[in-house]
Amino acid sequence: MKTRHKRLALIGGALAILGVIAALVLNALNSNIALYISPTDVAAGKAPKDKVFRIGGLVKEGSVKRQADGVTVSFVVTDTEKDLPVNYKGILPDLFKEGKGVVAQGKLASEGNFVASEVLAKHDENYMPPEAAKAVGDAHNRAAEKRAAQEAGAAAPAAKPGATY
């Protein structure tokens, strides 16, 4: 083995060890690196008490309600499994929409709702022109209707044998 090959192996080995160390450290820090926790984590009692933390999820469709003063908003953050009601007083970012991602910073109130001091919109990785977005939305709705129709169709024959009794 030549000296330079030895040195190359040494560099490779050092890098591999460094990678393992980094992986272990990051794994240990996992919960501290995450920017937010989900409503399921909150329901499971993983939320810090009397401390500021962030929650993230989707704004539930039809849940956004604005108070008469125009700046107080309440909405529900969901991860499709658990829901968490959020109260917030302030200006919402442009991308804040029902059905879209959101990250809110604040504290849990005694009634189990989340009082946010800051609300950020989480953007997804999809970039498209408005016409394409509409086409995708339409196709999605058509698929949902079709599925509903199929389920109704499947439910009808299943009900038939029951009718003979």
């Binding site: 460094l18 970012p93 989480k122 953007h123 498209m128 022109p129 408005p130």
Partner: protein, 249 residues
């Protein structure tokens, strides 16, 4: 010795210097062409986004700059490993020549990201994994530049800087995969090798052309810079004296 094409020949400074000089105009020209095409496609042809409106156009700078900031670091780490293992003179100079551009790209990535983040997210800056690891990358670049500038002997500077580069290389995969591994505010990748891009094709082409432009620009300025470094470090050699007197004649 055989007269077959030999790659190692180009590692000799006296051979590399004129070659780099001949290549610079080509890469600079390609950078201009790709840049004009990319900007025209991105700013004039590409449609507005369905959610972000016109603000999304920052991606034509932001994404190529972020890619370059990570890729340049990998290339520098590669040169550092070669330099440390084989003791080649040119490797350290290549790393040195790439560093300012890498720092510039990391800065551009963070700065354009902040400009986009304020209207879209509602915040200039968040301490999420993606943003923080990219900031660490900028610090690594600045640290490398400061460290190598602080050591007078260029060979020792290259060695110390090379070690820093190799240690910092673990940060690059962390940046890239941060949006997958942890909850971050930063969105996931729109373009990846494993699946079709979640982006309209005109936008994608604009972005890829800009990425090509950034590549060509990086190569052009790195070659220019490495030529200057070569002259400075090899100023006592015969080929530099011949080169300089030849040019003035």
């Amino acid at each position: 010795m055989n007269d077959r094409f030999n790659l190692y020949r180009f590692a000799a400074p006296a051979v590399f210097y004129p070659l780099a000089g001949r290549l610079v105009p080509w890469f600079a020209g390609l950078a201009a062409i790709f840049g004009l095409a990319g900007l025209a496609l991105g700013m004039l042809v590409a449609p507005t986004d369905f959610q972000q409106g016109e603000g999304y156009r920052i991606i034509f700078i932001h994404v190529p700059a972020s890619w370059m900031s990570m890729f340049i670091y990998l290339v520098m780490a590669f040169w550092a490993a070669i330099g440390l293992a084989f003791n080649t003179r040119l490797s350290g100079m290549m790393a040195q020549a790439l560093a300012p551009t890498g720092a510039l790209m990391a800065f551009l990535s963070l700065w354009t990201g902040a400009l986009w983040g304020k209207p879209m997210w509602g915040a200039w800056w968040v301490w999420d994994a993606r943003l923080t690891s990219e900031l660490i990358l900028l610090f690594l670049y600045i640290g490398y530049l400061a460290l190598t500038a602080a050591i007078d002997d260029p060979r020792r500077a290259d060695k110390a800087g090379g070690l820093l580069l190799l240690v910092g290389v673990v940060n690059v995969p962390i940046i890239y995969f941060s949006v997958k591994w942890w909850n971050t505010l930063h969105q996931g990748a729109s373009v990846s090798l494993t699946r079709s891009p979640s982006m309209a094709s005109v936008m994608l082409w604009g972005m890829l052309l800009m990425a090509l432009c950034f590549w060509m620009y990086t190569i052009a300025v790195a070659l220019l810079r490495v030529r200057t470094i070569l002259l400075e470090r090899e100023r006592h050699t015969d080929w530099v004296k011949a080169e300089l007197t030849g040019e003035t004649r």
